[in-house]
Symmetry: C2
Subunit: 155 residues, 2 copies
């Protein structure tokens, strides 16, 4: 079966490039914001975006190994070993969303509840741009993750 975004297709490659680019943009905007390290949520966001862009190759490896196992004549134990690796991919997508949401919570607190964004010293526009790219990165990662899950279940 060749779904949109499955490994080996052009759409799959574009999804990965998009993930990497969005994660890099998210890091860039956050690191260029003065004083971002004062908030734990923002630091966590940068850490997760860095992880998801650095470990792109690692994730790609997992996916291809998974499909080698599933498509080959593998025994039940081999298949189980493969499937036990899958959650890494799913967990990365969930952690990306968690990091983006906690940063979004803090930014909403700054801008709407505490009114800190009226002060020019707090670079809220950088925070917002960084969070936007973090959400885009999560969305693309979630699409890949769901396609893998669907293909794995449908084999």
């Amino acid at each position: 079966m060749a779904l949109f975004g499955s490994p080996g297709k052009l759409s799959g490659l574009l999804l990965r490039i998009g993930q990497c680019f969005s994660a890099a943009a998210s890091i860039g905007f956050m690191v260029s914001a003065h004083g971002f390290f004062n908030s734990t949520a923002f630091c966590v966001n940068v850490r997760h975006a860095t992880c998801s862009s650095i470990f792109q190759r690692e994730l790609e490896e997992y996916m291809s190994r998974l499909f080698d196992c599933v498509n080959g004549d593998s025994s039940f134990m081999e298949l189980w070993t493969c499937m036990s690796r899958f959650p890494c991919f799913e967990v990365t997508a969930t952690l990306s969303l968690a990091a983006a949401c906690s940063s979004a919570g803090v930014t909403v607190l700054y801008s709407r509840d505490l009114g800190y964004c009226r002060s020019p010293q707090i670079p809220c526009s950088h925070f917002k741009a960084s969070i936007l790219f973090a959400f885009i990165s999560w969305f693309l990662l979630a699409v890949s993750s769901h396609v893998t899950f669907w293909l794995l279940a449908a084999v």
Copy 2:
């Protein structure tokens, strides 16, 4: 196929009861915290927990309708209509996680970064308990959602 937590099984019922109880506990702890409405993230958390406990019946309905379609001799168009309903379930789980994470981000900002929790006027223990139950509720909802997705793909 009868996976753990699939509809019609005792484990499925226990999952739903657990979701409902955790969502209710999350609302209870948050509403009993003085001044929770000053933070947008906390209000969003309460709103999503309320939605996910009130719409339990609605979700149950979606799930059973989905399985009626998939298990019956349905045409491609009918199957497509069913599948287009599925994202409601998935979206609820994702929104629950997003609400819990944004609240967690704000609580970490209060307790670690700004040190507000040292003041007895800010009920941080209530916030933390509410967030803990929101995460439990999300986890149980995510298990149900994945089981449905797996069964749907494997049919």
